[in-house]
Symmetry: C2
Subunit: 228 residues, 2 copies
Amino acid sequence: MSVTYRKDLSRAVEDYLKAIYELQRGRQQVSTSALAERLGFASASVTGMLKKLHAQSPSLVKYQRHRGVTLTQTGEKIALEIIRHHRLIELYLIEALGYSWDEVHEEADRLEHFISESFEDRIATFLGEPEVDPHGDPIPTKEGYIAVSASTRLSALQVGESGRITKVLDEDPELLRYLTKLGLCPQAVVTVTQRDPFGGPIHIQTDAGATQMLGDRVTDSVYVELVQ
Amino acid sequence: MSVTYRKDLSRAVEDYLKAIYELQRGRQQVSTSALAERLGFASASVTGMLKKLHAQSPSLVKYQRHRGVTLTQTGEKIALEIIRHHRLIELYLIEALGYSWDEVHEEADRLEHFISESFEDRIATFLGEPEVDPHGDPIPTKEGYIAVSASTRLSALQVGESGRITKVLDEDPELLRYLTKLGLCPQAVVTVTQRDPFGGPIHIQTDAGATQMLGDRVTDSVYVELVQ
DNA sequence: TAAATGAATTAGTCGCGCCTAAAACGTGGA
DNA sequence: TCCACGTTTTAGGCGCGACTAATTCATTTA
């Protein structure tokens, strides 16, 4: 039985770890300013926190002045725990309490820091150990494993190609309501009917048969996997 | 439509309001030391917080040096909101997620500060707008009304009298597990079969027929309403 | 290679909410 | 009435996590 000792972390620290994880995609270092922007803090505040984390919790974070920050294995594991909480809570609010797609983010962003492991386990069981959240994002396992998806942006599809929506990387309630109205939720299939080869808006047809013109904001946040 | 503006309060302040409310029963002022003991803080810390509250949030609390503290109408309303959250969450954890009686207190003590009004409404609806929590305590309404119960302590019953358990004023998981084992949960009926007129342990018979001797710790925290 | 520019860090501050130690208060008993 | 004792407050301090303003650094460009 492996007991992983985990210091009790403040909400602030958990938020930093999560933000670093989310910005790290691809990049090997996360810059102070990127982190500041995502968290809505002044850069100087972020520098201060990173210095403190590096000094007091070297097991979570590797920080080099002027170079940026990276998560350690342990730091990443904790970030994934928080993300697991977030995604399970979102799904739970929808499935068990009748929340809609666009209402869950804010609630989950708070609660993710305060639920116990027991609560986490119980909602996961209730939901049947789900593997993806309502936005189509994979839910990390308790062991910190997260599935990588093979999907691409809707904006990358060529005319005539069809894709099944896998996830939507935007939490803005207004955008989500708009997508809901168009039927553009995970699992829906869309076909590109028209597009400019140099970017810009594209025309798509939904599986319900409706056609729609979509701008960059949408086509860059909606991810699909190719079908046919 | 009455919109009651409510400043966002810190968890610490909410905990103070709740503790003052709970200690205020009967008494008209709550002393610094009583509050300190209940919250687990040094008295000096409590004095500091009360001074600050009185100065910055005079709408919540009335504090007089050396005399103690009282809640205002508004302060009491907010305390009751938190208590409503606490009791709804406890009940929800039991009804919807299969928690047992003794597990819910700690979880509710954290979550009560972080759920949204929307979450509160939805679990209340799910539970059918319940009026009492799993310990038998009344759940305040959204408007801040709380039922007063006519029950007395089990320790006040005379030989031959029977009572239906209404609530248990103790959150210690171990005590609660013990009571569960004996069948002494809200709604159960007990009859006093033997007692010393000067206090001390009393003997009771449960509705299941079992007899049991109970000490002060139990008979002072279990409340009953007389039956027959 | 040196100057310009933008990113990052340092320095100093603030409010919060807790602490300990020491002083002040206020009340009951001699 | 006054003193002793327990309660409460004051004084001073600390860690956290944000802020602004000023400075330094690293990189790009002339």
